[in-house]
């Protein structure tokens, strides 16, 4: 026993190094990540729960909540449908140009949020391709719900696809081919064979897609027109209140968004911990 106590594994760091790196990592994360989060809640409740609640149920804030939820309720299902469809054809079939298609699907993640909004202004704006025609026919896309939905779809475009593609590629085609050979219909194969295999990965990606959809700022800011109580989403409402020096109001709505972020993080960690084998390899810990 005394022998083993003296022996130090050569790949173990000495205690001073452990302490140094541990303290560095902890203080960096506390300073950079945790302090801003703490400040949001401290400022939101600076004048008590009553002031926080009043800022949330104020009509313009409620309108912003409603608009954010509406935009996400349209954008997330559409991107989910797209993600499943893209993953089905990419993971279950071989065709030329597959790698290029995957790169194109990832493209929106590397575009600046502001540019993501700008491209729709250039298509639908008054100086854009379709602007004059839309104006003549009294169709409103920019500075209205459709524009906000389009910008939200663009910034959350790759979430579901990029999770499902590697996951379904990993799982191969054998099970689906067996089902098809045994006479199952296409939809039946998908619902009874594929879906049970990918359900946790699907939930994981929808969760992240939804969080980004509700929180998007830059892209939506360009196309929204900032009409208070009408085209302001929750993050835009935060900006408006902050710029009007209504700090309690701004941080109250911000706290609501921060709670959403925390719930998302908790569920995400739970999925990574509990169903690690059923997520794309990149998220396995």
């Amino acid at each position: 026993m005394t022998q083993t106590r003296k022996f130090r594994n050569p790949t173990d760091d000495p205690l001073w190094l452990k302490l140094l790196l541990g303290v560095l990592a902890f203080s960096f994360i506390a300073l950079l990540l945790l302090l801003p989060l703490a400040l949001v809640f401290k400022e939101a409740f600076a004048q008590g729960v009553g002031a926080f609640w009043a800022a949330i149920i104020e009509p313009d804030a409620l309108a912003a909540v409603r608009l954010s939820l509406t935009a996400a309720a349209i954008a997330v299902p559409l991107n989910t449908l797209f993600g499943i469809s893209a993953a089905w054809c990419i993971a279950k079939f071989d065709f030329p140009g597959k790698t290029f298609l995957v790169t194109l699907i990832d493209l929106p993640f590397s575009v600046s949020p502001v540019v993501s909004g700008l491209i729709y202004v250039l298509v639908f704006g008054m100086q854009g391709w379709l602007g004059p025609w839309l104006n003549d026919h009294d169709v409103h896309i920019l500075f209205a719900l459709p524009g906000i939905v389009l910008a939200t779809i663009f910034v959350t475009f790759p979430f579901v696809a990029r999770e499902l593609i590697p996951l379904m590629e990993d799982q191969g085609r054998d099970e689906e081919e067996a089902a098809a050979t045994l006479g199952a219909s296409g939809l039946g194969t998908f619902l009874r064979v594929t879906l049970p295999n990918i359900k946790w990965g699907l939930l994981y990606s929808v969760l992240l897609c939804n969080a980004r959809a509700l929180g998007e700022f830059g892209a939506v800011s360009v196309v929204s027109g900032h009409i208070r109580g009408a085209t302001n989403t929750m993050p835009l409402h935060v900006e408006l209140l902050y710029n009007n020096y209504d700090y309690v109001g701004a941080f109250s709505v911000a706290a609501l968004l921060a709670m959403l972020a925390l719930v998302t993080l908790a569920l995400k960690s739970l999925l990574e911990w509990r169903f690690a084998d059923e997520l794309a390899a990149a998220h396995r810990h």
């Binding site: 050569p10 990592a25 302090l35 079939f93 298609l101 502001v114 491209i119 296409g186």
Partner: protein, 281 residues
């Protein structure tokens, strides 16, 4: 008989599984409508300016200063995140301590927290009367409403990229090479510096490049803390918004094209890095 003949003449699907044409068709349709056509509108817009007009639009001192600020600070933030991302990933993968899972979950906060929320929080924190800003102000250091505010926000937004790309590589890294180094007489620091770090380099560069790309385009978390003084602390994405508000669509598109070109280059560089990394494994 003719019905059978017709059936035989139809091209038979070569696939066992159904739904190839439907899923590929919908994928291409959706991709084209949502992503490709609007991006084409951006690429074609500056053509109305002509080459000289395009050059004039992006070579004004204000535009150049904003591009320099966005790219320069994003690079600095990527370097900071690479260093602290390595330390954090090392602590998370190699050490055992209570609350490890919680610390690991917190790393993703910049992904999950809406950028506007991060923006007003960082701004209030580093303002001259804020929790961090006030002590610093006593030493005459100002962060908020200066270019350093841009750096703080970009460091915040980029941290998860380096940690998350390093973590899996670090945990897969066999400890046998470290044992060999120790057997051959290397000290622990020499082993980390000359054996572990070179093996982690591709992942570190990949994570830093992803953080850099995100920082260059970042808008929401920066505009509140930056102060947005033209040619001093005004980032390129904000200048696009300003041009749009002045109805200078072509000018906005010109800056947008420069930023898009930069993201293409970054995407190519990332692909190159990843194939380099997979070759080295």
């Amino acid at each position: 008989m003719s019905a059978i003949g017709l059936k035989l003449a139809l091209p038979r699907s070569r696939h066992v599984l159904p739904g190839f044409r439907l899923s590929l068709g919908f994928t291409l349709f959706y991709l084209t409508g949502i992503v490709l056509i609007p991006l084409l509108a951006l690429l074609l817009r500056p053509l109305s300016l002509g080459f000289d007009g395009f050059w004039a639009a992006i070579s004004t001192p204000r535009v150049l200063a904003s591009l320099r600020l966005s790219f320069g600070m994003a690079l600095a933030a990527a370097v900071i995140d690479a260093v602290f991302g390595f330390i954090t990933a090392w602590v998370l993968v190699r050490y055992r301590f209570p609350g490890k899972r919680l610390l690991d979950a917190v790393i993703d906060l910049p992904f999950a927290l809406p950028t506007a929320v991060a923006g007003i929080a960082l701004s209030a924190l580093y303002a001259p009367n804020g929790w961090i800003g006030a002590p610093l102000a006593e030493y005459g250091i100002r962060i908020a409403y200066t270019p350093w505010g841009v750096l703080v926000a970009m460091t915040f937004i980029g941290l998860p990229f380096t940690v998350r790309t390093l973590e899996p590589v670090l945990s897969e890294l066999g400890q046998d090479v470290e044992e060999v180094a120790a057997t051959l007489g290397a000290t622990r620091l020499q082993t980390i510096w000359r054996v572990v770090l070179p093996m982690l380099l591709p992942a570190m560069l990949t994570g830093a490049a992803m953080g850099f790309a995100r920082g260059v385009g970042e808008y929401g978390s920066i505009i509140f803390i930056a102060g947005n003084i033209p040619a001093v602390s005004e980032i390129a994405p904000l200048l696009i918004v300003t041009k749009l508000e002045e109805f200078d669509y072509a000018g906005a598109a010109a800056i947008g094209v420069v930023m898009l070109a930069a993201s293409f280059v970054m995407l190519l560089a990332l692909n190159g890095l990843q194939s380099w990394a997979s070759k080295r494994r």
